[in-house]
């Protein structure tokens, strides 16, 4: 998985009445894999994406209100956004798509799947928000600056190869602004109750026929790993994998183990 010659294209596409910023890349004849970014937006091409691009056709949109995609003023909560995304997927022609969501994007993926399970082939949830952890509390990202929040998302940030890319010591003005934009939209989606929807565990029961893999870091300092148990119990037949010495970003902190899990799950 050395830095491949992977070519990413970035463009704006008209879907569901909005102009969606979309990064695409990967194997042309591979199955589609839709990746839903976390609460701070798309962090640029990362090693795990390069690796998955070898086998899959990747779609990495910036959600409305994040990155270059305009906010949808009528969207007042995560369920609104999930409903909008279903139409966006249809407009993109992505039927039976594999869906992978991270953190806030994991919550979004869970809501979308619960609304319309037959649109998806398989679901990967990476430390998803969306349900209230049985023990512990979700780290309040709005009472921290972006850098502190990002850093708290790693068990051992110094040994994360891509930490500097995601969270540079001196963020450029563009990156700092992108974080503020992302934080504002995340706030709109998740302020109260913070980062969860009380009805979601019950609604997730509908995923009984959608193969689902849950991945979580044992030392997640953002969303306590206790929530993995509730996710697992709420989705009949789901698989759950907890990674040791790993924080909120298994895709960055334990990239190889993460990739092995995702590949194994998607190809099985």
């Amino acid at each position: 998985m050395a830095a491949s010659a992977q070519v990413w294209t970035e463009e704006f596409v008209e879907v569901a009445g909005a102009n969606l910023q979309l990064v695409r890349g990967g194997r042309g004849d591979g199955e589609p894999l839709l990746i839903l970014h976390d609460e701070l937006g798309h962090h640029g091409a990362l090693r795990y994406q390069e690796a998955l691009a070898q086998d899959y056709r990747l779609y990495i949109p910036s959600h409305p209100g994040f990155g270059g995609t305009e906010r949808l003023e009528w969207v007042m909560n995560m369920r609104d956004l999930a409903g909008w995304y279903l139409e966006a997927i249809e407009d993109l022609g992505l039927e039976r798509v594999n869906l992978l969501g991270l953190s806030l994007g994991g919550w979004l993926a869970a809501e979308m799947a619960a609304m319309s399970p037959y649109l998806f082939r398989k679901l990967v949830l990476v430390a998803p928000a969306g349900i209230k952890p049985p023990t512990g509390e979700i780290y309040d990202m709005f009472l921290a600056v972006a850098k502190d929040f990002l850093t708290a998302g790693f068990h051992d940030p110094e040994n994360v190869p891509e930490f500097q890319q995601v969270c540079p010591d001196e963020p450029s003005p563009e990156l700092a602004e992108a974080w503020e934009v992302a934080r504002e939209e995340a706030c709109r989606l998740s302020w109260r109750p913070y980062m969860y929807y009380p009805g979601l565990p019950n609604l997730l029961h509908r995923l009984k026929n959608l193969p689902t893999q849950i991945i979580w870091g044992q030392d997640d300092g953002i969303i306590p790993a206790s929530a993995s148990r509730l996710y697992h119990e709420s989705i009949p037949g789901s698989r759950v994998s907890l990674l040791d010495d790993c924080g909120h970003h298994p895709e960055l902190e334990k990239t190889d183990e993460f990739l092995a899990l995702v590949r194994d799950f998607l190809s099985s």
Partner: protein
């Protein structure tokens, strides 16, 4: 000229560890209420009310209150409670609330009732200001910061309608829905108590005040950017086709008067020695940077010239040790603190009035580490010497207040002022 008196009502506890410019890292929201001393709290609440009574006796036109939450620098977490008491224990002065933080309440109709009752009990002495609140307030009452401005405008419309339109009616808004609006108590003043808007940062808010033709009060900002911001108000008014003037703008700043210059300096320095206060330049302590960046609370782009100053005052730029980013000496030099004997204070106040030309002013005093005695000495000298002189200066400079000239039309009130007031008002409301 309308002259008001203000104290932020700090919780002054020298034992607390955060008292004085200690350089301690005092992040907003991080000070636990575990240290709260009930005896001290009771003493201070009563002290601040006593000082308000004396301020009225000394001739102030307005007794100003404000509100903050979850913080020791302002004890007025339920300002309307203090205002209710003042409504009964004072006789003449306006009760100036700057203001209720309308976006943070899910039930603005409760405010409608509270404020109407204050107006009733005071027989029409309420000035009902609104504010948007800082990040601290949105967090303390857990209200969406990103809807702060939308909720502000909708709550304002709902409150004014509930005050002025016979009920019952329904309200189906974006942020508020009520199936039966028919508050029994209505305001004493008709059509409703004056609404003023204080602020420091948001261009949206200042423009809104100009559109609503209501007074805008700048809070403890430096003079030059304040002047620029007020020019924006006047320009907006001109575009909207009405003539604004001093009656539309107000200015609050720190003024302390004492018996000798030495005592004045000694006491003036206490402004920067109380519990850290993000608004009290020179003693900000360190503030929570995340609170300043609470997503969506105010526009990151549409800010006023006063923003740089305000950001600094709220902890945006912190000097060595985390305190004293604007030393006392500098504030004396730029007139944001005026402290002295009546003879030395009066010409300085004149300079501020000449520069900014406000129709309402508020002396911010008795704050920081100042004691009751400090506050009372100053109030006495203000009443005996400063206020009469300032009224003369205001006349000479032609700076009418919002109860002399209608801020909405620029025309003097000919018959009655907007609210019936008891005898005695005429002598002091100049």
């Amino acid at each position: 000229m309308f002259i008001g008196y203000f104290t932020e009502r700090p919780y002054q506890d020298p034992k607390s560890g955060y008292f004085g410019a200690t350089g301690k890292p005092i992040l907003d929201l991080d000070v636990s209420n575990d240290i709260y001393d009930a005896q001290l709290g009771a003493d201070l609440y009563n002290r601040y009310l006593d000082e308000k009574i004396y301020a009225e006796e000394m001739g102030f036109d307005g007794l100003m209150l404000n509100e903050h939450h979850s913080t020791p620098f302002c004890m007025g977490g339920a300002m309307n409670v203090e205002a209710s008491i003042l409504a009964r224990i004072t006789q003449r002065a306006k009760i100036v609330l700057l203001g209720n933080i309308i976006p943070i309440w899910d039930d603005p109709l409760w405010l409608v009732e509270q404020l109407s009752m204050i107006d009733m009990i005071s027989r029409g002495r309420l000035v009902s200001g609104w504010v948007r609140g800082t990040g601290r307030e949105s967090v303390a009452h857990n209200v969406e910061p990103h809807y702060n401005w939308e909720r502000f405008k909708e709550a304002h419309e709902l409150i004014v309608k509930a005050w002025t339109t016979p009920g019952p009616f329904r309200w189906e808004g974006k942020h508020y829905q009520f199936r039966h609006v028919n508050p029994w108590v209505k305001p004493y003043q008709k059509p409703h108590p004056p609404i003023w808007l204080p602020g420091v940062v948001s261009r949206d808010s200042l423009m809104w005040a100009a559109e609503q033709r209501i007074p805008y009060i700048m809070l403890a900002t430096e003079m030059e950017p304040t002047k620029q911001a007020f020019q924006l108000y006047h320009d907006t008014a001109a575009e909207l086709g009405y003539e604004s003037g001093s009656q539309n703008i107000g200015y609050l700043w720190k003024v302390h008067v004492d018996e000798t210059e030495e005592l004045a300096e000694q006491t003036g320095r206490k402004y920067v020695q109380g519990p850290s206060n993000p608004f009290l330049a020179g003693n900000e302590g360190t503030t929570n940077q995340a609170l300043l960046r609470l997503p969506g609370l105010t526009s990151r782009r549409r800010v006023l010239p006063t923003q740089a100053v305000a950001t600094q005052a709220r902890g945006g730029s912190i000097g060595p040790g985390g305190v004293l980013s604007r030393p006392y000496e500098q504030q004396i030099q730029d007139y944001t603190i005026i402290s002295g004997t009546p003879d030395s204070v009066i010409p300085k106040i004149r300079h501020v009035l000449e520069t900014i030309r406000p129709g309402s002013i508020f002396f911010w005093d008795g704050d920081g580490a100042m004691t009751h005695d400090d506050a009372m000495r100053s109030l006495r000298l203000m009443g005996q010497e400063v206020l009469p002189a300032v009224r003369e200066i205001a006349k000479e400079l032609e700076l009418p207040g919002p109860f002399e000239v209608d801020p909405a039309t620029g025309k003097p009130y000919v018959a009655d002022p907007p609210a019936p007031v008891p005898a005695g008002q005429a002598e002091t409301a100049g």
